[in-house]
């Protein structure tokens, strides 16, 4: 049952990250493999704010802002110039891989290789349905719930959210309808980047200790969750995150935990082989 609890908290963090990741991919057409490095860079900014006497929950806002600003800058000054050259989409993916390596190991060069942790209590422990959960983990569940409901509200009920979905579905037609898609895309980088920063910071808080390369393999979980739910499908991302989060943590009870991410790899390979458009996506739209 404890592995189920771990699975749920992993799923909650992964859900925040995957929703941002898939939204970014759907609206901007960029498969941003540097997402994990922005997550951990955001976590470190929050950590340094926390080290200056600010409570971790306020420092979290620093992580959110870092993710939003870094993602916007990344798009504005690196991805967009490449996209304007009308190169094959794989070019931007390779560029993002390069950005990921620079972001991760550049951070390591600055902060060193040691582990760090937030000045923050894990809170009381609670026994809920046979699971032992810390107060911190309950707050992370709460943040996850607010984010998912908020994203649902944004996409379904706001003018901006509908324009984001329209831009994702057919950018040219959106422009013909009067939507300024460049503005929508920039806004999407900011929102998805904020989710990236939030996910990175709660990931680091939940891990207890973390270092510059802690999120290096996180992209595998993100890709597995995204392809399981369907690329570009925010609701699919929520489903994919819960499934991958539970699958990796529950499997850790039966196999060497060092290899738990292999489960995500297997899911990713299976989905790409048999249903690359995911469970929530359709062949036609993907």
């Amino acid at each position: 049952m404890s592995s189920f609890g771990f699975g749920l908290i992993t799923a909650a963090v992964l859900a925040i990250a995957t929703v941002g990741f898939t939204m970014q991919f759907a609206v901007t057409n960029v498969l941003n493999l540097a997402y994990g490095s922005i997550m951990i860079n955001s976590a470190f900014v929050a950590y340094y704010v926390n080290q200056h006497g600010v409570t971790a929950w306020v420092a979290l806002l620093g992580g959110v802002a870092t993710g939003a600003i870094a993602s916007w800058l990344l798009n504005r000054f690196i991805y967009t110039p490449f996209q304007r050259r009308n190169l094959a989409p794989i070019t931007v993916v390779i560029v993002s891989l390069g950005v990921d390596l620079v972001g991760t190991f550049g951070l390591q060069a600055i902060v060193g290789g040691g582990y760090v942790s937030f000045n923050q209590s894990q809170g009381h422990e609670y026994h809920i349905l046979g699971m032992l959960l810390s107060g911190l983990q309950l707050v992370i569940f709460g943040i996850c719930a607010v984010v998912l409901v908020g994203i649902h509200w944004l996409l379904k009920y706001t003018r901006l959210g509908k324009a984001m979905r329209a831009t994702s579905a057919n950018r040219n037609l959106a422009r013909n309808s009067g939507v300024k898609t460049q503005f929508i895309i920039s806004t999407t980088w900011i929102i998805s980047g904020a989710l990236c920063g939030l996910a990175g910071t709660v990931f680091a808080m939940n891990a207890g200790v973390f270092e510059a390369t802690s999120a290096q393999l996180y992209i595998v979980l993100l890709l597995a969750a995204m392809f399981l739910g369907g690329p570009g499908e925010p609701y699919g991302a929520m489903f994919g995150a819960v499934t991958i989060g539970l699958a990796t943590e529950v499997s850790a009870a039966y196999i060497n935990p060092e290899y738990k991410d292999v489960v995500a790899f297997l899911v990713l390979i299976a989905m790409l082989t048999f249903r690359p458009f995911g469970i929530f996506g359709s062949e036609k739209t993907n």
């Binding site: 003018r159 324009a163 979905r165 329209a166 057919n170 040219n172 037609l173 422009r175 939507v179 036609k284």
Partner: protein
């Protein structure tokens, strides 16, 4: 029509137009004019540049030479979102709706430039024109039939009360009976109301029936033009587009 569906038309003029991709002209030396209250059609064989011409008028394809005007406004190479803003509604041949969005959401995006309180009012007006859409407001556009989808595509552009409607093969892939209804009831209806309608149509006979003026494109240039009655008497046109020897029905007055 109890609510004004579109604004009174403006003259759309392309003069000496050349347009294409990567600096290479697909169409050149094109001069066309569409006027309010008239249906102006463009016919021609596949690959003659009809769709490229329409796309260049609405800012989707780059104009390499010449100019495009709507009324007194020069819209040459204007961004598509700004072309929509000045009152040109464009329905592409394919990818004409947002499949994952519901019918209502498609109409809302069509009315993106409207003030918040105007959107529902406009949706009501569009539904009055396309009452069949009323029963499918929550259905995803990707699940509609060809005819329903085309109605939605037109409904989407009508949300902004356009002065000029630019329609690229609206009857493509539609059953003949649906195509006829779309052309004769709805598209002719827009012009009768005073809108300017520029239409690319593969079904030459059907296009002639509803048009006031027709341009014939071949090899990226206008090779013939005139009122449909005259074209229907032109042996070259009849041979090429009306199945040789077949007589076109004269357009309705």
């Amino acid at each position: 029509m109890s609510v004004e569906l579109s604004k009174k038309g403006l003259v759309l003029t392309a003069t000496g137009l050349a347009a294409g991709y990567d600096g290479r002209a697909i169409v050149s030396g094109i001069t066309v004019e569409a006027t309010p209250g008239k249906v102006v059609s463009i016919v021609g064989p596949n690959g003659s540049g009809k769709s490229t011409l329409l796309k260049s008028l609405v800012g989707v394809v780059k104009v390499l030479d010449g100019s495009v005007k709507v009324g007194d406004t020069d819209i040459t190479n204007m961004a598509p979102e700004d072309v929509a803003k000045i009152g040109v509604g464009y329905v592409p041949q394919i990818d004409d709706v947002f499949p994952p969005l519901s019918v209502k959401e498609n109409l809302e995006i069509g009315g993106y430039l409207l003030k918040r309180h105007e959107v529902n009012e406009r949706i009501e007006a569009v539904l009055e024109f396309f009452p069949k859409l009323k029963a499918m407001m929550t259905r995803k556009a990707g699940k509609l039939s060809g005819g329903e989808r085309k109605m939605l595509a037109m409904g989407r552009v009508l949300m902004l009360s356009p002065s000029v409607l630019v329609l690229d093969e609206p009857t493509a892939n539609l059953a003949p009976i649906v195509a006829t209804q779309l052309l004769e009831e709805y598209i002719r209806g827009f012009a009768n109301f005073g809108s300017t309608v520029l239409l690319v149509e593969q079904r030459a006979k059907a296009a002639l029936r509803i048009s006031d003026w027709t341009y014939v494109l071949g090899g990226g240039r206008v090779v013939l033009e005139g009122p449909p009655q005259d074209l229907a008497q032109n042996p070259i046109f009849v041979e090429s587009f009306l199945g040789g020897g077949a007589k076109a029905h004269p357009p309705k007055d």
